[in-house]
């Protein structure tokens, strides 16, 4: 096992207060090795997105330690956290979250413009198979195409870590598989750590490591010795 990309200790997240408080994370202790594909599995509402958001620097935990390499995310100021996201992290969201008023290429440029060592936006779009549609607006693209633009946007900055929250959740399995293919490629070619949330259990077959999540905590972590290519997975 290589060095850890992330470490969390006793990470909790509580939404709200008093009787209506929701304990989304209940003291998560976790080590994520760099360079792997990791799949986070678990029922809806178990806290997967919350965990992803916190280690991705989109949100803060209520208590506990969160470390990226040798930096303490939980102790960072907002500006430092912004720099962390800018320099190290790519996101793919379940609902694509493209800017509706920007074309596919411009959506990618939005990220490459501020990245330290970005790819050419056209190249990123070619990687996800959208070379022909770079000048289309999100409203002119299908759901799968939009999600691929979102992935192109996330990988174009050549991030150290790629976070994907149910990237295939809104897609049919055919389209989903091509999206997963791109993620696997990024992991192989750029060496990015890929952390993917899914509730399609079979997708865990493409992971190096599977984290089973339930009720705000880790149930078990399983190493996957027989990694499958995305094309071989059915769901």
């Amino acid at each position: 096992m290589t060095e850890a990309a992330y470490t969390t200790k006793g990470l909790t997240k509580v939404y709200g207060e008093g009787r209506s408080a929701v304990h989304a994370l209940r003291g998560v202790d976790l080590e994520i090795p760099a360079g792997e594909v990791i799949v986070l599995l678990g029922p809806s509402g178990s806290g997967k997105s919350t965990l992803l958001n916190i280690i991705g620097g989109l949100d803060r935990g209520t208590e506990g330690l969160v470390q990226f390499r040798d930096q303490r995310l939980d102790e960072m100021k907002d500006a430092e956290l912004t720099r962390y996201r800018r320099n190290h992290v790519g996101f793919v969201f379940q609902f694509y979250n493209l800017m509706p008023s920007l074309t596919a290429r411009e959506n990618v440029e939005l990220v490459t413009e501020i990245a330290a060592d970005p790819m050419d936006p056209d190249e990123a779009l070619a990687l996800v198979g959208l070379k022909e549609r770079t000048d289309h607006f999100p409203a002119q693209l299908s759901g799968g195409e939009q999600q691929r633009v979102a992935i192109a946007r996330a990988i174009a900055k050549q991030p150290d870590v790629l976070f994907c929250d149910e990237p295939t959740g809104a897609l049919d399995s055919q389209t989903g598989r091509s999206v997963l293919r791109v993620l696997a490629d990024v992991n192989e070619r750029l060496g990015s750590t890929v952390l993917m949330v899914t509730h399609a259990a079979s997708q865990a077959q493409m992971a190096d490591r599977v984290i089973h999540f339930a009720d705000g905590d880790i149930r078990e972590i399983v190493e996957n010795r027989k990694k499958l290519a995305p094309e071989e997975i059915e769901w």
């Binding site: 989109l58 996201r85 996101f91 920007l102 411009e106 939005l110 409203a139």
Partner: protein
């Protein structure tokens, strides 16, 4: 490469072009008004000053009974005097064919050779009278135009009792006679007072003034003290019947022009800030709502690692584009409108040329206010959004809290269909947003109420002055104070129903450093025709001792009942008196001072004297009455109230008051902009929900109902709020429109409020219609796919 954020900026602007235009338009008209009004007033006073300067208008006017010409050099020796011009002037009556009443006029001498060193004339047609031709005259152009007279025409006039014929050789304008009015009247009227210029020797012969003058004009050197010169001149001319020298500030025409300009200035200072504040507030609301709706995109940008400063700068640019665009359009529009209006006003003020002047400070103010208010709106919301973590910002905005509406819902549910419930829930669930829309529309309502109240206030001023204060039909003025027995002659004329005496005395009232040159009106006991009224329109019984001042005059002099005034009488023995202020009266035209006629006569030691009379007459016999009046030797002038009223209406519709129509139009644009914006925001925030409704089978009408129902409820709530705001606003605007000559009251008039309500409802209907059309054409799929 253009940054993708700038692409977003341009496309976002294009996407919300309707709303951006509406916001920009509101800012633009606010700024337009500011730029227009300041430019207008600056240009008018510049032009006035240049005109005075170019035609050498005197600084001091010296009326005297008869002074030998040699005194001119004595006047010139007074320290501070830089120029002296003497002349002869006199009253005249002009006979015009087809008119029963002769028109009063003033005859003024011109040097037999060359131009006058002071009070020059501007020849607009024809030529100057030739020397040695006492029958050649110049006529005041405005008077000539009013009666269709041209050079080459002849004119019959009575001077000093002798009827003579004259040849009009030229027409002239003069800075001294921008405004003319018949003696004893307040409102200028071109048609009813003429000015005739002719050679000095001819005029001197007519008025027995050979080798003498009865008016001196004085120019002051820059460092001169006007008060000192006035005192020295009065001392010098005392033995010759000096009637008291006065400065330019008290000269009738100048006083009037200056009051009109300062009326405009007051409106320029008082009204645009109100409009601009409303526009700024609207901008604040709209921008904050707009940024609020961009919450998700802001969260997204932050998720990618954009800093708060970068995101803030992006939205700031958007805001700036709208605000600066609007403000610049406003500046350009203001210059154009100012130029157009200044043309109208130069004609109105009879300035022969125009000095157009812009006030750069107003550009700066307008643009700054727009940018500041817009950024305030943006920053306020941005700060709130920045406080959120990107994860929270990207979640669907503000989770609806059903719990509270759920309860009341139960009891109401039975009576309401689903769309009505949606309207109701949204109103109760997001009270903050609703409050914003309500306050926005309410400020539109307030502007409309205030402007319409002002319109009603102008009508009221006319009404009060000519129907309540003065109830006569005809005013007669005598050549000099005559015995009150003369009144019997008037009453005896067939058709005269009632005649009421009046004793008018020229006075200068002083209190501390303040002074006012005007007429003290002596009224009989319990007058019926011309009355002093209190604030409740009840007649004031004039006391045995003391004067009753109009409240405007009391304010000008800084006195209250009980204070002592010094009164410098400018007639007869010219006594200097101390007199107490007994009370104040409400007037809307002029700034009169009243006194009991008998008490006044006693004070002057001239018992039983009257200087004029108010008459009510039988209209059918009017012509016969006028003819009879004209034959009475003591009658100097007759004026009809209907004519005076017409002149006043004309004044209010063409002078400073006319600007109210421009302001009304601006208020309407702002009101419409506000209401349209409220509708647009509602549509933008709900387009997705509405598309969902359509998709699950609601008809276009039902979907529109959900949207427009909300607008309707908001508008209905905003109306009373706006009415209340407008009530207070109208006092501010009324004060801005009141001049020293007339006051505009802000009276509560239900009709005005009704009209304002119609304006707002009309704007709401049109806006609703526009928004509904857009909703009907909305592409369902697109609305569902994309977030707006």
């Amino acid at each position: 490469m253009v940054s993708p954020l700038d692409h977003k900026l341009l496309r976002d602007l294009w996407r919300m072009k309707g709303q951006a235009t509406a916001i920009g338009a509101v800012i633009a008209v606010g700024v337009l008004m500011l730029v227009m009004m300041t430019g207008l007033t600056a240009s008018l006073s510049e032009t006035r000053d240049a005109y005075y300067d170019r035609y050498r208008l005197a600084d001091v006017f010296v009326p005297v009974a008869r002074a030998p010409e040699r005194l001119a050099s004595r006047l010139a020796e007074i320290p501070g005097v830089s120029a002296v011009e003497t002349r002869v002037e006199g009253r005249a009556l002009i006979d015009l064919p087809g008119q029963v009443l002769p028109v009063q006029a003033q005859a003024v001498s011109l040097p037999d050779r060359g131009r006058p060193s002071l009070n020059d004339v501007f020849l607009t047609a024809g030529r100057m009278p030739a020397s040695g031709r006492p029958d050649e005259i110049l006529l005041l152009q405005s008077f000539a135009f009013a009666h269709g007279l041209r050079p080459g025409d002849t004119l019959r006039a009575t001077m000093n009792g002798a009827r003579r014929g004259f040849d009009i050789v030229g027409l002239a304008q003069s800075p001294e006679f921008l405004y003319t009015t018949a003696p004893g009247e307040l409102v200028p009227d071109d048609a009813r007072f003429g000015v005739i210029w002719m050679g000095r020797s001819g005029l001197a012969a007519a008025y027995d003034m050979a080798g003498a003058f009865n008016e001196a004009l004085i120019g002051l050197s820059p460092e001169a003290s006007e008060d000192a010169v006035l005192a020295a001149v009065d001392r010098l001319l005392e033995p010759y019947g000096g009637a008291g020298a006065y400065g330019l500030a008290d000269q009738f025409s100048n006083r009037f022009v200056s009051e009109e300009i300062s009326g405009l200035e007051a409106a320029a200072v008082g009204v645009p800030p109100i409009f601009l504040a409303v526009a700024a507030f609207l901008l604040y609301i709209v921008i904050s709502r707009m940024v609020q709706s961009e919450r998700e995109e802001i969260g997204l940008m932050k998720a990618f690692g954009y800093t708060n400063t970068e995101v803030g700068a992006h939205y700031f640019k958007l805001i700036l584009a709208i605000a600066v665009g609007g403000a610049l359009a406003g500046c350009l529009g203001g210059i154009a409108a100012g130029r157009a209006l200044i043309g109208v006003y130069t004609a109105y003020f009879k300035f022969p040329f125009l000095v157009f002047q812009l006030d750069p400070a107003s550009f700066v103010t307008g643009v700054t206010v727009s940018i500041l208010s817009a950024s305030a709106g943006g920053l306020f919301v941005l700060r709130r959004v920045f406080a959120l973590t990107p994860a929270t910002a990207m979640r669907a905005p503000a989770p609806p809290n059903f719990s509270r509406t759920g309860r009341i819902g139960h009891s109401l549910n039975r009576f309401l269909d689903q769309p009505s419930r949606m309207v109701l829930r949204r109103l109760t669930r997001q009270p903050g947003r609703m409050a914003g829309s309500i306050i926005g529309i309410a400020s539109g309502m307030a502007l409309s109420v205030a402007m319409i109240t002002i319109y009603a206030g102008f009508d009221r001023t006319i009404d009060l002055t000519f129907s309540v204060v003065d109830r006569s039909d005809v005013t007669v003025s005598f050549t000099h104070p005559v015995s009150d027995k003369t009144l019997f002659e008037l009453v005896r004329l067939p058709g005269v129903e009632r005649a009421e005496p009046v004793r008018n005395v020229s006075v200068v009232l002083r209190h501390g450093l303040e002074s006012h040159r005007g007429v003290l009106i002596g009224l009989p006991d319990r007058p019926e025709l011309n009355r002093a009224l209190d604030a409740d329109m009840a007649p004031i019984a004039l006391p045995e001792r003391g004067v009753v001042l109009s409240d405007v005059l009391a304010e000008m002099l800084g006195v209250a009942p009980g204070d002592m005034l010094s009164m410098d009488v400018r007639e007869g023995r010219q006594p200097l008196l101390q007199i107490p202020v007994a009370g104040t009266a409400q007037t809307l035209l002029g700034s009169p001072a009243y006194m009991d006629m008998e008490a006044l006569n006693r004070t002057l030691r001239e018992p039983g004297r009257v200087s004029g009379a108010y008459l009510t007459i039988d209209e059918a016999q009017a012509d016969a009455i006028y003819a009879a009046l004209q034959d009475m030797p003591t009658v100097a002038g007759v004026s009809l109230k209907s004519q005076a009223r017409d002149a006043f209406v004309r004044l209010m519709n063409q002078g400073a008051g006319a600007i109210r129509y421009v302001m009304g139009a601006i208020a309407f644009i702002i009101t419409f902009g506000i209401v349209y914006n409220a509708a647009r925001i509602a549509l933008a925030e709900r387009s997705r929900d509405l598309a969902s409704l359509r998709v699950i089978g609601f008809s276009k009408g039902e979907a529109a109902f959900v949207l427009l129902g909300e607008l309707a409820v908001v508008t209905v709530i905003a109306l009373p709020v706006g009415a209340a705001l407008g009530y207070y606003l109208s006092f501010g605007i009324a004060a801005g429109f009141s001049t020293d000559l007339y006051q505009i009251p802000a009276v509560f008039d239900p009709v005005s409020y009704g009209q304002a309500t119609l304006v707002v409802l009309g704007a709401a209907l049109v806006s609703g219609g526009l928004v509904k059309r857009e909703l009907d054409h909305a592409d369902l799929i697109e609305a569902l796919k994309t977030r707006e």
